[in-house]
Symmetry: C2
Subunit: 271 residues, 2 copies
């Protein structure tokens, strides 16, 4: 199931800049009972990306389309791709610029229940993230670093991979954000140089602060990670996975991780 600019479509024009340059943004939205989860957070991040990349976006129209798509899909994932539209006369913005709005439906990925219950092992990716503040935080379509990182392991014992930047900082998972608990504080890497600022990360920081937990966004190195009392991953489709192993290091699934899983489960997830 796919809609292009509000209508069913199987393909995108070959001269779309989303294909040519990765000139666009995406969101991966969980759908259940015909409703999109965390839609206002997805739209906020998309809007921020549109402002920083100067892509015009009718957010009200897009929101209406996503709600209608979710109703039609029922359950699964709605992948939204917003591109700058057609135009092949080089890198320069097309005038006029008519963005393409693509919604693609898919089934929810089937992850083992043990990932959330007993935790996962992280693969230590060799692929490093380049530091590019102009694009950091955005969920844009330039994702070759993630493609290369995900290709590093094929062993199902590793549910995710850990990505660092070229300075050695711990940044995120390949398709997840990373958080840790240290001295009763929730800590997550600063994403102003690289990384994707996930909507589930934002939701967890919101829930944690509302529950009275101190939250810190700062640089994190491997020592910080190894000294953490609890470590977990999150994304908008699976919620929270505790991390229990990275190379020779082991963590237990901790009480704050369990508490945040509980808070998330109590949310309808549908604002």
């Amino acid at each position: 199931m796919a809609w292009l600019d509000g209508r069913p479509a199987a393909g995108l024009a070959v001269d779309d800049r989303g294909l040519a340059y990765g000139d666009g943004l995406f969101e991966t939205i969980k759908i259940s009972q015909g409703q999109p989860h965390l839609l206002s957070r997805h739209m906020a991040r998309l809007g921020e990306g549109c402002r920083r990349l100067a892509i015009p976006c009718d957010e009200a129209l897009l929101t209406t389309e996503i709600r209608a798509f979710a109703k039609a899909l029922g359950a699964g994932v709605c992948k939204l791709i917003l591109t700058r539209g057609s135009g092949l006369r080089g890198y320069r913005f097309p005038e006029p610029c008519r963005p393409s709005r693509l919604l693609i439906g898919a089934a929810l990925p089937q992850y083992p229940e043990a990932h959330a219950a007993q935790g996962v092992a992280l693969f230590p990716c060799v692929t490093r993230l380049a530091e590019q503040p102009l694009l950091a935080g955005l969920k844009h379509l330039n994702r070759l670093e993630q493609v290369l990182a995900r290709a590093e392991w094929d062993d199902s014992r590793f549910a995710e991979g850990l990505m660092r930047d070229y300075s050695g900082r711990v940044i995120e998972g390949v398709f997840s954000n990373l958080l840790l608990v240290r001295k009763q504080r929730l800590v997550t890497p600063d994403l102003s140089r690289c990384g994707v600022a996930g909507v589930m990360r934002a939701e967890i920081l919101f829930l944690a602060e509302r529950a009275g937990l101190a939250c810190v966004v700062t640089d994190v190195d491997l020592d910080d990670l190894y000294q953490a009392e609890e470590v977990f991953l999150c994304n908008s489709l699976y919620g929270i996975w505790p991390v229990v192993a990275l190379e020779a290091h082991r963590w237990s699934v901790g009480p704050l991780t369990r508490k945040l899983q509980g808070l998330l489960a109590n949310q309808t997830g549908i604002p």
Copy 2:
């Protein structure tokens, strides 16, 4: 005019990874008299990209298709986009992987003749290139940095923009490579951390060495650029443009730039 996997097509599947992740490569090939220019150099760079990104590619089939496309197009530009093909189950490579081969025909861009004859002024781009050795040199589909850089100026007095990396090194133009002449040597920036290794750059280095000129690929900073006797840009569509101005600095169009323009003009360009 567009062909997908050897057949006329107007669109690409919405689940193609070229769109979703920029998971692919491209080449911009000049066509005249029904023949592709510098095809062996384009195929060599594409092959290198395929090896580094682990995209399987039937180079013989692709070469045959490009030659047939060039014959049908007659004159203009053949934009080749090779993606990893369909697959939306996350960043992981699809199995089996069936790359998409897209050929798109267009007219040659119409640049003023004065650019090659009298030289151009460079816009000093604020957008910096991130250092990512894993992708450096490749003409991959992750091109948001170039999109942002090209959006910095709208003044037709600037034909191109100068891009530096975050360490301040001079790397390239937004859609060109950069070369300079210093003490009778041809110098061009090292592209092992970022930048696109252009086929025209390779052709010019080849022609220059064959003509007995010493060629050096090394790091270049702004001082090197300002102290150069000659500076020029190149790409596979327009050949060579002398650079005559960057901010307050002025260069003359020099004898080696003219000599290389002459050598290029004497090449048929069709190996």
